[in-house]
C-alpha cells in the first residue's frame, strides 16, 4: 500500500506546486491546499500503515502508531486556519482591485 500512497503524495505535490506557479490567486490557494494534503499524508506514512484504530479495546490485533495521527490533526487545523485567512486576504485584494492606488510609500 505504501508505495501507492507515496505516489499519491508525489501527485499531490506536483499538482499543488503546478497550481501555485500559476497566476490565478484562487488556484494558488487550491495548490497550497493540495500541498498540505501531501504533507499530512506523508506524516501518516510514518505510522507504517499497519494496525488497527488506536482506541484501546476497539479491536483485536496491534494498533497503529497514534502519534502521527495526532500530529496530522494539529497540522490540518492549522492549515485550515491559514487557508481561511488566505481566502479573506484574496477577498480583500479583490475588493481593492478596482484601481485603488493607496498611499504608495
Amino acid at each position: 500500500m505504501a508505495p501507492l500512497v507515496a505516489l499519491l503524495v508525489g501527485v499531490l505535490v506536483a499538482t499543488g506546486f503546478f497550481l501555485l506557479l500559476g497566476r490565478s490567486l484562487l488556484r494558488q490557494i487550491i495548490g497550497l491546499s493540495l500541498l498540505s494534503h501531501a504533507a499530512h499524508i506523508t506524516i501518516l506514512l510514518s505510522a507504517g500503515l499497519r494496525g488497527g484504530v488506536p482506541v484501546i479495546g476497539a479491536g483485536r490485533g496491534p494498533m497503529t502508531d497514534p502519534l502521527p495521527q495526532a500530529l496530522i490533526l494539529t497540522a490540518i487545523v492549522i492549515s485550515f486556519g491559514v487557508t481561511a485567512f488566505l481566502l479573506a486576504l484574496g477577498y480583500r485584494m479583490h475588493l481593492f482591485g478596482g484601481g485603488e492606488k493607496g498611499d504608495d510609500r
Binding site: Q28, S36, H40, T74, G81, V82
Partner: protein
C-alpha cells in the same frame, strides 16, 4: 511559591504575552490597549531577564508539559541559548511597540497581534520538541501574516500574499522533515534526537535534515531562499518593521543553530553551509547596493548579515558557534535600531527614498548619531558590538583555515559600509532643512544604539554568555541529561 515560580519561569515568556493578547481582544479602549500592551511587554522582558540570570551558569531548565516525562510528552526548556533569544525578542518587541505607539500606528488588532507574535517567537525559542517547534512557527507566522496585511494597500497585499505562500511552502518542507526524522528515529524530542540520530538510518535522517534546512533557511532568509524578504519587509510601518526585520528571520537562524547541530552533526566545517553563508553575504550586500530607499537597503542587509551568522554555524567550532550567536544578538539590536531610524524618517518626512531626502544631520542631530552608531556597528567598525562579532568570526574562520569565507566576510563588510555611506551621504548630508523628528520617535532607536555601544565596551560580558550557549550545542551532554533526567 518562589520555587514553583522559578520552575514555571520557562513558560512565562509564552504565556504572559498570550494572556495579554486575550485581554487585548476583550478590552478595546485605546488607553487600556496601550497600557496592556506595554505591561505585557515589560512583564515578558522581566521574565526573560530572570531566565538569563538563572541559566547563565549553563543550567538547563526543562518543563515537561502535562507532567509526562521526556521524551514522551512535550518538553519546554530554557537553556542559555533559548534564554538569550527570548531576552532579545522581548526587548525588541517592547522597543518596537513603544515606537509604534509613539508613531500612533497602533490599533486593537496591532496590539493583540503583537502579543501573539511575541508569544509565538518565544515559544519557538523555548520548545524542546521538533513538532512543537512547527506549531510555534505557525503561531508566529499567522501572527506575522495578520500584522503584515493589517491595513495594507492593494499592492502591499499582493506582496504579503507572496510572503504567505512562500512561508506555507516552507512549512510543508518542515512537515516533510518532521515526518522523515520521526520515521527514522521514532522520536520528536530534541534531546532524545541527540541520542537517536547516530543510530538512525543515515539516508532518511539526511533527507530530513535537508528538508529542515530548506524550511529554516527560508525563514532565516539564507541563499537561495531569501527572495521573499525584500518584498515583504517593504510593507510594515517602522516599529513593526523593526520587530520583523530584527527578530523574525532570526527565529529561522536560531532553529538552524538548535536543530541542525542535532540532526546534522558535523565534525568540521560544513561546506554546504559555508557556500550558502558566503553567497548569502555577497548577494545580500550586492542587493543592498542596488537599492535607492532606506528601507530596501536595510532589508537587503538583513539577508547579508544572516550570512555571517550562518558562517559561524558552518565553522562548527565552539568559537565559531559562540561568535555566530554573538552576531545574532548584536545584529538584532543594531538592525532594529536602524529600522527604527528609518521608521522615524518615514514618519516625519513621509518618504524614505534617498533622492527625496537630504540634510537630516543638520536638523536631526541625535537621529544622525544613532544612525551612525548602528550603521558602523552593522558594518563591523569598532568600537561597537559589530566589530567584536566580526572579530570572533574572522578568528574562528582563520582557525578553521577557511580562508575563502573569511575573505568574503571582510569584503562584504566593506560593501556594507559603502551602502551605509550611501544612505548617510545622501539622506543625512547634503542640502535641505528637513523637519525635525519628535524625541519620542528617536528614543527607542537611541536605546538600542546605547546597547551596541555598551556591548562594544564590554564584549566579554556578552561573549561569556554566548560561549555558554554554544557549549550546549557543541557538547550537548548536559542539555540531554537535564531533559532526559539521566
Amino acid at each position: 511559591m518562589t520555587a514553583s515560580l522559578i520552575a514555571a519561569l520557562p513558560v512565562l515568556p509564552i504565556i504572559v504575552p498570550m494572556l495579554a493578547a486575550i485581554l487585548l481582544i476583550v478590552w478595546q479602549s485605546r488607553r487600556a490597549q496601550r497600557t496592556l500592551g506595554i505591561a505585557g511587554g515589560i512583564a515578558t522582558l522581566a521574565a526573560s531577564i530572570a531566565l538569563v540570570l538563572l541559566t547563565r551558569g549553563g543550567e538547563v531548565m526543562p518543563i515537561q508539559a502535562g507532567g509526562w516525562a521526556a521524551p514522551y510528552g512535550i518538553t519546554l526548556v530554557a537553556d542559555m541559548l533559548g534564554a538569550l533569544m527570548v531576552l532579545i525578542a522581548s526587548l525588541i518587541g517592547l522597543v518596537g511597540l513603544a515606537f509604534t505607539i509613539a508613531a500612533g500606528r497602533d490599533d486593537r488588532f496591532v496590539h493583540a497581534g503583537w502579543q501573539f507574535l511575541l508569544s509565538g517567537i518565544n515559544w519557538a525559542f523555548l520548545t524542546g520538541d521538533l513538532f512543537n517547534l512547527y506549531v510555534a512557527y505557525e503561531v508566529m507566522l499567522i501572527s506575522s501574516y495578520f500584522l503584515l496585511t493589517h491595513g495594507t494597500t492593494q499592492r502591499q497585499a499582493r506582496e504579503a500574499f507572496g510572503y504567505v505562500a512562500i512561508n506555507l511552502v516552507a512549512s510543508m518542507f518542515f512537515l516533510f522533515g518532521v515526518a522523515l526524522i520521526y520515521s527514522a528515529t521514532g522520536t520528536l524530542n530534541m534531546a532524545h534526537l541527540v541520542e537517536r540520530v547516530p543510530l538512525a538510518p543515515a539516508a532518511t535522517v539526511r533527507a530530513g535534515a535537508m528538508m529542515l534546512l530548506v524550511a529554516f533557511g527560508t525563514k532565516a532568509a539564507i541563499f537561495p531562499f531569501y527572495f521573499w524578504l525584500p518584498h515583504a519587509y517593504a510593507i510594515p510601518p517602522g516599529g513593526l518593521a523593526a520587530f520583523f526585520g530584527g527578530m523574525l528571520t532570526k527565529v529561522g537562524v536560531y532553529s538552524l543553530f538548535r536543530v541542525f547541530t542535532i540532526v546534522f552533526p558535523s565534525s568540521g566545517p560544513d561546506p554546504l553551509l559555508l557556500w550558502s553563508a558566503s553567497a548569502t553575504m555577497l548577494f545580500g550586500v550586492l542587493g543592498a547596493l542596488a537599492q535607492d530607499s532606506i528601507r530596501r537597503i536595510l532589508s537587503f542587509h538583513i539577508i547579508s548579515q544572516v550570512g555571517y551568522m550562518i558562517m559561524g554555524l558552518a565553522l562548527a567550532s565552539q568559537l565559531g558557534i559562540a561568535g555566530g550567536i554573538f552576531y545574532v544578538l548584536h545584529h538584532i539590536v543594531v538592525k532594529s535600531g536602524l529600522l527604527l531610524v528609518g521608521g522615524a524618517i518615514e514618519e516625519t518626512q513621509r518618504t524614505d527614498r534617498l533622492d527625496r531626502l537630504g540634510g537630516l544631520a543638520r536638523t536631526n542631530g541625535t537621529l544622525a548619531l544613532v544612525f551612525v552608531v548602528c550603521a558602523l556597528s552593522l558594518a563591523g567598525v569598532p568600537p561597537f558590538s559589530g566589530f567584536f562579532a566580526k572579530l570572533l568570526l574572522i578568528r574562528a574562520g582563520l582557525e578553521a583555515r577557511e580562508y575563502g569565507v573569511v575573505a568574503v566576510s571582510v569584503i562584504v563588510s566593506i560593501l556594507t559600509l559603502m551602502s551605509m555611506l550611501k544612505i548617510y551621504a545622501t539622506a543625512f548630508w547634503g542640502p535641505g532643512e528637513p523637519r525635525r523628528a519628535p524625541a519620542r520617535l528617536v528614543v527607542p532607536a537611541a536605546a538600542l544604539a546605547l546597547i551596541t555601544i555598551a556591548v562594544g565596551l564590554r564584549a566579554q560580558v556578552l561573549y561569556s554568555l554566548t560561549s555558554t550557549a554554544a557549549e550546549h550545542l557543541t557538547q550537548p551532554a548536559r542539555y540531554v541529561a537535564a531533559i532526559l533526567k539521566k
